[in-house]
Subunit: 395 residues, 2 copies
Amino acid sequence: MAVELSTDTPSKIILLVIDGLGGLPIHGKTALEAAHSPHLDRLAAKSACGLTDPVFPGVTPGSGPAHLSLFGYDPTKYLLGRGILEALGVGVDVGEKDMVARGNFATLKDNLIIDRRAGRIPTSENEKLCQRINDFLKSRKGPKIMVFPGKEHRFVVKFSAEGLYDSLSDADPQKENKPPVYTKPLSPEAQNTATLVNAFLDEVTEFLRNSAPANTILLRGFAKHPSLPSMQELYKLTPAALANYPMYKGLAKLVGMDIIDVGPEIADLFDRVEDIYSDYNFFYIHIKKTDAAGEDGNYEAKKAAIEETDTYIPRLVKLKPDVLVITSDHSTPCSLKAHSWHPNPFLLHSSSAMPDRTTHFSERECSQGYLGRFQAIYVMSLMLAHAGKLKKYGA
Amino acid sequence: MAVELSTDTPSKIILLVIDGLGGLPIHGKTALEAAHSPHLDRLAAKSACGLTDPVFPGVTPGSGPAHLSLFGYDPTKYLLGRGILEALGVGVDVGEKDMVARGNFATLKDNLIIDRRAGRIPTSENEKLCQRINDFLKSRKGPKIMVFPGKEHRFVVKFSAEGLYDSLSDADPQKENKPPVYTKPLSPEAQNTATLVNAFLDEVTEFLRNSAPANTILLRGFAKHPSLPSMQELYKLTPAALANYPMYKGLAKLVGMDIIDVGPEIADLFDRVEDIYSDYNFFYIHIKKTDAAGEDGNYEAKKAAIEETDTYIPRLVKLKPDVLVITSDHSTPCSLKAHSWHPNPFLLHSSSAMPDRTTHFSERECSQGYLGRFQAIYVMSLMLAHAGKLKKYGA
């Protein structure tokens, strides 16, 4: 519905996503509750607060569905293949005709996969192997294929050709001490793609024959570029993304955002948003450190990342956006060391927002906020409305 | 979605349903607010609380949809015929090929139904009539048909045969001083079933010709056994039901729970759950007294039933389930003497639950809880998540 009602205006929206922000108490307080964050608190006191569910109560989302939801895309309708997410994560540029897959270097002996992770070879070794494979692939004929190193034994492969179909089974026996398996087409039109992938598997295994423990590869999660309508089309926005990590740049690119070059630090995000502020009317800013600390179970690091983020809040406020939303994609409690299903703290600052009694930006204070608990998929329509970008529905 | 993501683990969930728990204030306090329930209050203080809507705001559910919702089945998609609920209520075992209907004994005179309830004959008279009819039915040829007495003039009839179809109109003129009506097939394939039902009507009316005022029968709400996917299939649970009343055993059986034999008292439920605790990983416990008191408009009895239930809470806590949820299927305010649409108090206790500021388990305190207000259909995904039984959605 936001689509039919949206209208192009110069008003500006900033969406600050503090990844994995929500948590659970340790010694009575969550990291967000324990953090000294006077600017977030002061803003909360002048804003409408609430809690959002990325998908629905109980569902723990990956970064893909959690972000799609925040961008207003139904995460149960738009599904991103694991290969795509992995590719975005290592910064692979995936075009509309490309197909990607997740790869493992593995160990083959007597026609059995005896180690699916090739002894977790060092990342530096992985990088060298990928370089060698790419040189070899360039030297031979056939469709363009490239590999991109990840951490340890993991890599991403990209096939670039016309007429690729990603309905393919995994070329991975899943368990050790089983023979290698080829990919099989899961629909008739994927037959040629399966043939291409299997020839590639044979070629690379032959090329790696003396590189034990990394003397073969496994491929899984074949995925073509998903076709999502852009935020320009849907909401008539001119959106920009500021993120330090490839995964989030990739997700933003999928929905049509311009990806702004930024350095690796939190400070770089806030420097750059000031530089480009006059060029766009929607700004997605992504902070990763909070989620990384949550995944590590490092409560002090999470608290520190929140406190660091807090120091930059006045710079966002100073830009005087028509709408400033501060929230998260999903929770990452230190006690669980993983993404979780707990709802996200949410703050909306705007001249048309109802200020509530929230005086501290936290999970439990937000649960008492004026906005109550709602699905994150409505964050986009709410931001558009407060920015004066949504027309009346019906007469 | 909970279906694709669910995974089998040994972790245990207890769902305690205090039927009709929610109410409205009388002299300022609801029965739940007035009750002395220190164990529920102490548990609330360490739990995440909220309010749930059985269907959606304003909808008063019957026991069927209210329970389906709590078990994670969309109550607007899975419809239970009234005949089925009536049959479950009197404890009739309905097999997959069986068809049931609600029956009334009625009075026929000069080919007019002059009393649709046969003067509300005593239940004991009803029981005798049903016994006689069953003896008669056994003595003759044809498909197996049985009647089961309810209260006063009400009974349930069960047809057991191959190829029955329940798309049949009611064999009931609905108003008095109208001629009896036969059932009519509402779809072509129900023709044979209609013929069978109408022959049965004729036979029984002939058999009862000297039993005035109960000298004929009316049938309505024809319903076959609904086919619901089981909780084992959907959630990979091993579920057990502990309930004193047939209706709730029947509902639990529809979704695949093992029905545990229990005595008639609240105490019996808590004795038995301890006995079987190692054999299952999901326990549905149903307490009826609160709803019965609400329906009677008996505030003191409702308060007493809550206080009695409260004394057993420590025994549930002592079992150390991974997730303990205490809630209701629907509200039954004494002032309305009926089910209502008011949301249910909800409490979730688990190591991954956010403790909130709720210190008294009540309708109004729960409305301030961290979980906010949500649809009861998400109770199941929330319980599964807190029990570590749901995988992450997407990457």
